[in-house]
Amino acid sequence: MVINVGPQHPSTHGVLRLILTLDGEQIVACEPVIGYLHRGLEKMMERRPYRHNIPFTDRLDYLAALSNNLGICQCIERLGGVEVPERAQYIRVLLMELQRIASHLVFLGTFGTDLGATTMFLYAFREREMVLDLLEECTGARLTYNWVRVGGVPDDLPEGFGQKVLDFAKLFRQRIEEYDMLLTRNRIFRSRTQGVGVLPKETALAYGCSGPVARASGIPYDIRKVAPYEVYDRVEFDVPVFEDGDVWARYLVRMEELRQSLRIIEQVLRDMPDGPVQTKLPKIFKPPAGIAYSRVESPRGELSFMMVSDGSPNPVRVHIRAPSFVNLSVLPRLLEGAKVADLVAILGSIDVVLGEIDR
């Protein structure tokens, strides 16, 4: 039996279509069909001056817009040799980690709903709302933040922002305990996730998986550690790594990252120096001819931007390595022999964002 999951389906997390071949409840083969959200962003970027491209990256991984902003800004900074003031770097890290929490909370909520725990969805989104409120207060937007600029951030943190973040961190630690009690420790949840969709280390490496998917398969690969950017080398945090590679491990990695993000946030707020937040740049920004590549650890994995410049105001070529795209490519392998009910668990655990896959 061939069954079409998506592009309109409650748990494909966007417009993803999966053509499943079933044998009863067993999945024999799976073929993902992507491209429903293709907007030609890379080409659009090539037609515009460098700094005009930053808002477009909001539309890539729309659950972690700030990570994308940072990625492209780092790329342009490398291309043009722009220095970033120290305070701006700290602010960037702070916002990235808040963004990571927001993004992982979406994962947590949707993953819960996929498995039938609808209440988890609303709890996770309730706390995400708090993060969004914080980010809104700082950046002025709730989803497409566009709050990283070449050479810094557009504005300093608002008054009393640090205290609000700390209050949230304190509350959120308790809430994570609650999530654990409601979902992580639940017998049914564990039965549904443990040993399901096992991704062996070799396969993960072969497919180039990154982010929580790779770390759950025993690959201790986190850009924040292996190639530290901004001030990640000055803060202390652990990279959770699990050996099992199943849905449960991927879930645990993200839960642990929530805690680690809180740790980073607290350190950053403690160490943040005063100073300017933006480097002055000329009105028309023309980087020298060359090629630049930047990579950041987005909540979904290794997000990279590559830009080629020929000295004109517009980039000649832009390429984006979207972590979701790479992680999704491993899905058919994971689904072999799984049950239909496992499909949503496995797909949910990869945590793809279609805006980034289709670009």
Binding site: E136, G140, N146, E178, R185
Partner: protein, 182 residues
């Protein structure tokens, strides 16, 4: 917390216990204050930095809009949202028409950052949906702080200033300026 080997009874009891734990959490939440904002009746406060529909700032002191029609914002816009008609030139220049196409606007704030005259700001207005396509086109009277009235006063002030300037200038300079503008 990884599982031991499957044992129906252990799993069953574990299931009951953990289910009960979960129910404790949901019970606790049953009595927590609710977070719903009843939107059309209640509204969340909008933070000062909120990026909604932008507006042209009204300068009470000078009795005009701050905008001088320099098109820097239009140039900074990635999606060509802004177009404007300049009114006059020199120190007293302003705008007589300023249009923005909401259908293309990304609310990215780049126009605000580009403006050196503090003329354009992103406001708290976010209820911009409409059933008509042409309603996405905002003209100067919709954007200016103070609306229709402000636009009228703005043009009045600028025209008066321009006229005064012209009067103060020697005759040949006026001629030259007129020639240029034609």
């Amino acid at each position: 917390m990884r599982d031991t080997e499957y044992n129906p009874l252990v799993y069953f009891i574990d299931g009951l216990v953990t289910l009960f734990n979960g129910m404790v959490v949901t019970w606790r939440n049953l009595w927590r204050p609710k977070v719903t904002v009843r939107y059309p009746y209640q509204r969340r406060p909008v933070p000062p930095r909120y990026r909604g529909l932008f507006y042209l700032k009204w300068n009470e002191e000078k009795q005009r809009l701050n905008c001088v029609g320099c098109t820097l914002c239009a140039q900074a816009c990635p999606t060509d949202v802004i177009s404007m008609v300049k009114l006059g030139k020199g120190t007293h220049a302003g705008v007589s028409e300023f249009t923005m196409d909401l259908g293309r606007c990304m609310f990215c704030n780049l126009c605000v950052e580009a403006c050196p005259f503090d003329a354009i700001y992103m406001g708290p207005n976010y209820e911009l949906a409409s059933e008509r396509r042409d309603a996405s086109l905002f003209r100067i009277a919709d954007l200016a702080q103070g609306g229709e009235e402000a636009v009228r006063k703005n043009i009045e002030t600028i025209e008066r200033l321009l006229a005064e300037e012209e009067k103060a200038k020697p005759a040949h300079a006026v001629h030259a300026a007129g020639g240029e503008s034609e």
